[in-house]
């Protein structure tokens, strides 16, 4: 039983991926976690987590069949915080090339493409990209107005430094149309990809699994719960 003041997060259950570890992370941090596939509960949630492991196309079918897509749009209209994890981040995009093209939620405009799986000198790299990797903060645009308006401490990166390690399991990457949506980048061979996507406000997504990324990963959930 949590108190009224504990931040709540609803974890969307659409039959794909292990939600237990996310739920445990939220509870460990003192939040309240609820796992649900109910469209009405999703639409009226305080905070939403869209998890996901598996194929993009199948995930969209599952979300549509359960009426979850519309519930997510209703939720977003209230400008409440949404966090996509791994495939859940990719689902936020306009479309994915995975067995596709397949249409996504189109909350962030851009597409999802396959990792090249090559080094810079064209040697083969293992795909999926599985394991620990660092995130780096992209160079900020040389634009005084933008710089003035953006403070990383107001994002899910509060308390996390460039070069921190996170745990990845993925074969596809997000390419947002607007570079300002790239909150953090990572490198896998010749691919420099967006590892955290953010509208610097309520919409966020992580390509890695924060619930498997030790202390830094917990900090992401902590920020999501208490700082957004």
């Amino acid at each position: 039983m949590g108190s009224m003041n504990n931040p709540k997060a609803l974890i969307i259950d659409y039959g794909m991926g292990n939600l237990l570890n996310i739920e445990r992370a939220i509870k460990y941090l003192g939040g309240e976690a609820e796992v649900s596939s109910s469209a009405s509960m999703i639409a009226s949630a305080e905070r939403l987590i869209l998890p996901g492991v598996g194929a993009f196309g199948k995930a969209m079918v599952e979300l549509n069949e359960r009426g979850i897509c519309d519930a997510i749009y209703d939720f977003i209209r209230k400008e409440r915080p949404l966090l996509g994890i791994c495939l859940g981040m990719q689902l936020l995009m306009t479309e994915s090339a995975e067995f596709g093209p397949n249409k996504g939620l189109d909350i962030v405009s851009g597409k999802v493409v396959q990792l090249k799986g090559r080094t810079i000198d064209e040697k083969r790299l293992k795909v999926p990209h599985i394991g620990w990797n660092t995130i780096e903060f992209p160079e900020e645009p040389d634009n005084a107005a933008f710089k003035g308006s953006f403070n990383r401490d107001n994002t899910i990166l509060k308390g996390i430094s460039s070069g921190s390690y996170f745990y990845f399991v993925h074969s596809y990457i997000c390419q947002p149309d607007n570079q300002e949506y790239v909150l953090a980048e990572s490198t896998y061979g010749a691919d420099r990809f967006c590892s955290i996507i953010s509208n610097k406000s309520n919409i966020n997504g992580c390509q890695f699994h924060p619930e498997k990324s030790g202390r830094a990963g917990l900090q992401i959930y902590k920020n999501f719960l208490f700082n957004s």
Partner: protein
């Protein structure tokens, strides 16, 4: 781009206890696995591996409970194996909080289990556990913790499990396991050079230099060790009453800090110290 090498404590489980043996025989109770797991998580382990040391022998499967208890407060990848026989077993362990499941005996008897489980759960969570022993200059694959010869030659078997969809190989040298004399570098080198999936080196680690050899000479993607971590984290005396129903606790009754009988071979070392040494030697590690 050099890869990040993973440092993985391996916890062998018997009943509810963490155990350690020599050549996988003569198991000795060291404590409760979740206490050690939490220490390793906090100490900077990149992953954890739990293996139910006797599950295959006695046909039991009580790991899910221990996994559930352990993963409450541990937020790094967690591989679990021992006695895994079916898709149901795999599903149960994944639902209890495991990220990957290691399969050995059942895969040898029914290689299709690897194919089926990779299709259902994804290759990224299926680990083929291969136990190897050098016999007449040939690495032979074993099951049941080194008791049963399978008749499969290790390189051939490694190639087969990867073709079937295994996402990782946990490669244990039965000859070296529990000796503290170092990994079987030749074994690791052969398999790591052969397959496209990560190879986790296991068996024989007694000191940090052995890990460096497995990484640099063997080309391992990850190194797994038990004794050097367990003996390092053994601290204060424990209440041996909570272990009275389980196995050989002579070691616990002695002051656990005194393990001179192993000191010649094992240099107990914490994960942070190992990583710092590896980084100095030019290996990339998460810190």
């Amino acid at each position: 781009m050099a890869k990040y090498i993973r440092i993985i404590p391996r916890l062998d489980i018997k009943g509810p206890n963490l155990v350690k043996g020599i050549h996988l025989e003569g198991l000795r109770v060291l404590g409760k696995p979740w206490d050690f797991a939490l220490k390793y998580y906090k100490g900077g382990a990149d992953e954890l591996i739990y293996i139910d040391a006797v599950a295959s022998l006695y046909g039991r499967n009580n790991l899910a409970e221990i996994v559930e208890k352990t993963s409450q407060n541990i937020f790094i990848p967690f591989t679990v194996g021992g006695g895994v026989r079916s898709l149901d077993d795999i599903g149960r362990l994944l639902r209890a909080g495991a990220d990957k499941v290691a399969i050995n005996t059942a895969a040898v008897h029914n290689p299709d289990l690897i194919y089926e489980s990779a299709k259902v759960f994804g290759s990224q969570c299926i680990v083929a556990s291969i136990q190897a022993k050098l016999i007449n200059n040939r690495y032979e694959a074993f099951t049941d913790n080194g008791r049963e010869l399978t008749g499969k030659e290790v390189t051939e078997w490694a190639r087969q499990v990867v073709d079937l969809g295994a996402g990782e190989i946990l490669l244990t040298s039965i000859d070296n396991e529990g000796t503290g004399l170092g990994y079987d570098i030749e074994l690791i080198r052969q398999i790591a050079g052969l397959v496209s999936v990560p190879v986790v080196a296991c068996g024989g680690c007694g000191r940090y230099e052995h890990m460096l050899d497995a990484i640099v000479k063997g080309n391992a993607d990850a190194v797994c060790a038990a004794s050097i971590f367990h003996y390092h984290s053994l601290g204060s005396k424990v209440d041996t009453n909570q272990f009275k129903d389980e196995g050989n606790i002579d070691f616990l009754k002695l002051n656990r800090g005194e393990f001179n009988f192993m000191k010649e071979k094992i240099s107990p070392t914490g994960i942070k110290d190992i990583k710092n040494s590896l980084i100095k030697a030019g290996v990339k590690c998460r810190v």
